[in-house]
């Protein structure tokens, strides 16, 4: 049976970890930088990332940080983990930024912005940082839907090589408007990973 070990809800103005609010002092893109500086640091690549990757990176690091504290791990061990994310706007936030660099009167396409004009780049950023060697997938769907997420994640976790999955919703319409609801799913935790529990977490306000 699959269980929900941890979950995080990070939006433009607040952060909840398993339903408990974490104190924050900033909003939007500044919130992500603030969280990076307070809880992560030491990874300058963060500042080169697009808004969606920054969001996914910070949310995942906070999720993994809690794991390290609970298990006294000094490093992440994610070789048997997979990463499956969903949203509805794909890489729209960064696409808009790139579009500004190809304005006809000021045509200087930015290579470093262009490389992020795909939503699945965020899965690569997270997998590289945390040595996730299992499946990495990014699905673009019409709306936040617990049943779809449950079915996809359950199917992937039926693979015996996957013992843990980071999954959830990672939506970013622009650099100041975003919502990440990420869960850590494994095969030992007591809170059952089912549609009802997943829906409750995805709809948590």
């Amino acid at each position: 049976m699959l269980g929900i070990k941890n979950w995080i809800n990070l939006n433009s103005s607040s952060v909840f970890f398993k339903g408990t609010r974490i104190a924050t002092d900033a909003y939007g893109k500044d919130l992500l930088v603030s969280l990076y500086r307070k809880y992560i640091n030491g990874y300058p690549k963060f500042f080169k990332m697009d808004p969606l990757s920054r969001l996914g990176f910070v949310a995942c690091e906070l999720l993994f940080n809690s794991e390290k504290v609970e298990t006294l791990q000094t490093d992440n061990l994610n070789e048997d983990s997979c990463l499956i994310l969903f949203n509805k706007s794909a890489s729209l936030a960064n696409d808009k930024i790139y579009n500004e660099t190809i304005d006809n009167e000021n045509y200087f396409p930015s290579p470093s912005v262009f490389v992020y004009t795909l939503p699945n780049i965020v899965t690569g950023e997270i997998a590289i940082k945390n040595k996730i060697y299992g499946e990495t997938s990014f699905y673009v769907i019409d709306e936040l839907d617990a049943t779809t997420i449950f079915n996809v994640v359950s199917s992937s976790m039926s693979d015996t090589n996957n013992n843990r999955c980071i999954c959830g919703w990672l939506e970013c319409s622009n650099e100041d408007n975003f919502n990440a609801i990420l869960l850590m799913i494994d095969k030992t935790s007591d809170t059952l990973f089912n549609i009802e529990n997943l829906r409750n977490i995805l709809n948590y306000k």
Binding site: P44, F47, K48, F108, S110, P111, S112, V115
Partner: protein, 85 residues
């Protein structure tokens, strides 16, 4: 020349999002790639855009780019001699 070097460092920090780097942290003679600032291939492309956008210099030959981006000093010297704006 000193003004150009300082301006160039500020532009590189901004365009490459080197958030925690200050102009005084970049030595004029250290390599920009590899051991030095640790820049990568995408950064190199961004520097090529910077040269055209800010100084009107079009670099078409990658081999020339490799030479120019050896250090801040080399880059500034090339800009001084070839800029069109």
């Amino acid at each position: 020349m000193e003004d150009l070097i300082l301006k160039l460092k500020q532009e590189i920090i901004e365009v490459l999002n080197l958030e925690d780097v200050k102009p005084e942290d970049i030595e004029n003679d250290i390599p920009l790639f590899g051991e030095g600032l640790g820049l990568d291939s995408i950064d190199a492309l961004e520097l090529i855009v910077l040269m055209e956008k800010n100084y009107g210099i079009k670099l078409k030959d990658p081999a020339v780019g490799k030479e120019i981006f050896k250090s801040i000093n080399v880059m500034a010297e090339y800009i001084k001699n070839n800029r069109t704006k």
